[in-house]
Symmetry: C2
Subunit: 338 residues, 2 copies
């Protein structure tokens, strides 16, 4: 199969080869043959001719004609910048391919002007739709250029709630985290690590609410919150300082795996054993959780699934009515719970 001749095979060539008109070929190859009631025999002949010649439609010509490129654009802030979250790209890309589309990506690195330029470029290229993704679950202001176009938000929400969005079910995740602590027999002395006061990050707030809701069911509540940025260093510092005051928790719910790593370090330094003295659970379910000793129990963010669902939503005819999809966060067990 496939011609070795120089020029590309066109629809015209196929038509000639099959002894029909280009129109007929177009109809058949675009699956409109039944509608046009073209004889099965002709259909077969045309398909074979196309195969024999190794015909592949010229997408540029199709695009010019149909104003559709079978391409979707993904705009993000830092999604590919070396984080676990880059799995969203994998999911989106795979889902796009499953729908006969290709994924065009662009990172803005937080620069608004760049963002506009990037979106313009994609519009020029005729992308059929946009996925607007953020690294951290947050509420965002969607660029004006996108708000009236086929767009799905990934891992974020717009203030006006006018666009469909795909996010993890953080609240449920919070409930799960509290639940596994309860199952481990920890009802009191349960602290949260990582809350940020200025959080316009939705995740923290919603997880906290979930934790509270679950504890409330057993008439318990969080013993306290250790406030720190969501990273290893800050978590270590904050937890160490806190332990230095003589605090002795039963369980710690960390708002992400990096925080948990800092917590592990602080606990180790204070001579406290995980899970013997303190049970730990966190959010992310990243590879890091598996690297820690003992393995960290964590509530996973299903990044790949999020990316895939965003693309699937975008492909729906009724995409605009999709609303907000919340994907559940599976519990990944680990030795950090008794």
């Amino acid at each position: 199969v496939g011609s070795t001749t120089g020029r590309r095979v066109t629809l015209h060539d196929v038509a000639k080869e099959a002894g029909v008109s280009p129109t007929t070929v177009s109809y058949i190859l675009n699956g409109r043959s039944s509608q046009m009631r073209i004889s099965l025999e002709t259909q077969e002949r045309v398909r074979q001719a196309a195969d024999r010649l190794g015909y592949r439609p010229n997408r540029s010509a199709q695009s010019l004609r149909t104003a559709s490129t079978q391409t979707i654009g993904l705009i993000s802030d830092f999604v590919a910048s070396g984080h676990y979250a880059s799995r969203m790209l994998t999911g989106a890309s795979t889902a796009a391919r499953g729908n006969d589309h290709l994924l065009v990506i662009g990172e803005t690195e937080g620069d608004t002007d760049q963002q506009v330029a990037l979106i313009d470029e994609m519009i020029d290229r005729g992308v059929d739709g946009f996925v607007y993704a953020t690294l951290a679950t947050a509420e965002v202001v969607v660029p004006e250029l996108l708000s009236r176009r086929r767009t799905v938000l990934l891992n974020c929400l717009d203030r006006s709630h006018s666009l469909p969005a795909v996010l993890p079910n953080e609240f449920e995740g919070g409930r799960t985290a509290a639940g596994v602590m309860l199952e481990a027999g920890i009802v009191a002395g349960l602290y949260l690590v990582g809350e940020e006061p200025t959080a316009d990050s939705l995740a923290g707030r919603e997880r906290l609410e979930g934790v509270r809701a679950r504890l409330d069911e057993v008439h318990s509540e969080i013993a306290g919150v250790i406030d720190c940025a969501w990273d290893v260093g800050p978590a270590f510092e904050a937890t160490s300082a806190w332990l230095g005051t003589g605090a002795r928790p039963q369980g710690l719910i960390c708002l992400n795996d990096r925080v948990a790593m800092g917590v592990y370090q602080a606990l180790a330094e204070a001579g406290l054993d995980v899970p013997g003295d303190v049970a730990v659970v966190s959010f992310d379910g990243s590879e890091l959780a598996g690297w820690l000793r003992p393995k960290l129990a964590s509530i996973e963010i299903p990044y790949a699934d999020l990316g895939a669902l965003a693309v699937h939503t975008l492909m729906q005819d009724d995409w605009a009515d999709a609303g907000i999809s919340r994907l559940s966060m599976p519990f990944v067990p680990g030795g950090s719970l008794r």
Copy 2:
């Protein structure tokens, strides 16, 4: 600026607005005005008309006409799958945009058939060139479809060495690693952790060679190699077992940051202090290095730069002669060295 009318602004509209022919507009907007000796006054008038109307060329039409899409395709195995290496995407995407191109990505997840299909799709979409990237530095067999097209390899080499490639300078990195150990006063008792016997990964081999070369300069040599897969668990197991035999190293060169993490765990368990008892250095320079306590000194893989250089190389007119580019691996200091 930008029209609020429904229909898109075409070259024709601009011509009418400026009172010239479409040809003239095309020449001016494509920078061929000097060649055509068009009056400056006309040029200015046309540009202003284009601005006023918010004209943006129709890329599909341009593509159909010129057989170029201002788009480059990046084919990879697992590059976006949640690894530090996904920074290659960031670098490539940014560089592409700097050259008025957009980046189309596709992951094959190691599936050869998918790879072919993906490349076909990209060819159909008329990408102007390919970047073929791999997660692990390795020697690969480049798909036939690419070997005769504008393609640059990223983080890999093809057996026939016929395509340009961009990789880290692993050998030099190895030299650096050995060098910092020497500077820390460690000449004997220096071990390597992570070598794989079956490695078709180039990185390990080349790093090892670099280490040997540097040590050779001071008439020293590696005391031994602790063999394990490049991950936390295996490194912990192997190192623990080895320490259990009573071995007491002066310094450990780990083949990546994850290995170093496993080594840290094993050393801690054996009651050995870093860097007091054992100095450690590794390769990657990932975030993980900064998370460990003490901070891990590491030889960085400049992923973003690699991605960017691959794209830049691809954009050169003489791309085919670019040969193999080796980007140096900067040393990122840390407290794991005395």
